[in-house]
Symmetry: C2
Subunit: 151 residues, 2 copies
DNA sequence: GCGCTCCTGACCAAAAAGGTCAGGAAAGTC
DNA sequence: GACTTTCCTGACCTTTTTGGTCAGGAGCGC
C-alpha cells in the first residue's frame, strides 16, 4: 500500500507540465524543477506519452506538453499509466478474487478500499493540483489534524 | 498501490482465528481453510504474534488464537503488522515530504489518500469481517456496481 | 520421554524498484 | 547540408522486496 518513486515523479512532472501551458517544456527543466534524475524521468515521460497523456517534440524548441487540458487529466490517469491498476490484491483485481471460509467478505473490504482510493485519485485533476484548489471533499479529508498524524 | 500476498494471507488467517473463538487453532488448519502455504503462513503468524495480535501455544492441543477480542482488532492493525505503515510515499510518510514548484499541494493529496484508506481499514474489525456486518459507511462504498467495475 | 506444534534463522529464486549508459532519430538552425 | 538540440529506445545494472522453502530447535501435554 505504498506509492512508488516512479508514480510520485510522474505526478510531479505532470504538474509542472500543467503549469507550463501549451509551450513545450524540456525534460531537463522538469528534472531540475522537481529534483528528479533526468534519465529516469525520460523513461517515465515516455510511458506517459505511450499512454496518450503527454505529447513531445524533439530538437531545439522541443519538449513535452500535456495531450489534454490540465482539468481533464486526473492523478489516477497518471498513476495508472506508470504503476498499472490501482489496488490490486495479489496481482488480481479485487472483483476477481474468490475467498472461502470466514474470509468471504474480505472481497467487499478490498472493493471499498479501492472505491475510496478512486474517490480521491480520480477527482483531483492536474489543474486542481497546480492551483491548490482541490475538490472540497478531498480538502475535507486532508484538513483534520488527525489526518496528518502518523500511526 | 497494491495489497501483497502476505497482507492478504494475514487478514484471512486472522479471520479464521476470529471465527475460532478462544480455542487454539493449529497453523495447519488455518493453512487448509484458506489455501495458504503452511510454512509461509507460520512466518506470518509469528510476525502477528510479535506485534501482539495473536498468541500461541505449542504442543498437542496447541495452536494460535487472537490476543484481543475480535471486535477490537482492525484490518489496519493486521496490515500494518506485516506490511508496515500504510500509504507511504517513497518510503516516507506523506506528512514528512516537502514538495516544491508546482507540486506543492501534492502532499495534501497523499494525506487525503491515506485518510481514505484509514477510513476503511481502521473501521472494519475482524468481528465485522466474519459476520459479514461491515460498518454502514464501508458497505455503502462497496455497494455501487461502479465500485466493482475495472478501470 | 515422546509426539505434537510452534519458533527461528538461513537460504533461495524471481520479480520489482530505481536507476544509469550508450546510441539513434527527428526537429530546428545556420 | 551540417550541426545542435532534444526526445526516443533498449540494454544493462544493483539493491530490495516478494513469496516462498528447508532444517532444526524448543516448549507443551500426556
Amino acid at each position: 500500500m505504498r506509492v512508488s518513486a516512479k508514480a510520485d515523479y510522474a505526478v510531479r512532472a505532470a504538474a509542472e507540465l500543467a503549469a507550463g501551458g501549451d509551450e513545450p517544456v524540456k525534460g531537463e527543466r522538469l528534472a531540475e524543477a522537481q529534483d528528479i534524475p533526468l534519465q529516469f524521468l525520460e523513461h517515465i515521460l515516455l510511458e506517459l506519452k505511450h499512454h496518450g497523456i503527454v505529447r513531445a517534440r524533439r530538437g531545439a524548441k522541443g519538449g513535452y506538453w500535456l495531450a489534454k487540458p490540465a482539468d481533464e487529466v486526473t492523478i489516477a490517469d497518471i498513476v495508472r499509466a506508470v504503476e498499472g491498476p490501482i489496488a490490486h490484491v495479489q496481482s488480481s483485481p479485487p472483483e476477481d478474487i474468490e475467498y472461502k471460509g470466514h474470509a468471504e467478505h474480505l472481497q467487499e473490504v478490498w472493493i471499498a478500499v479501492r472505491a475510496n482510493l478512486r474517490a480521491v485519485l480520480e477527482h483531483v485533476t492536474l489543474a486542481d493540483l497546480v492551483n491548490g484548489e482541490l475538490p472540497p471533499a478531498v480538502k475535507d479529508l486532508a484538513a483534520p489534524a488527525d489526518a496528518w498524524a502518523p500511526r
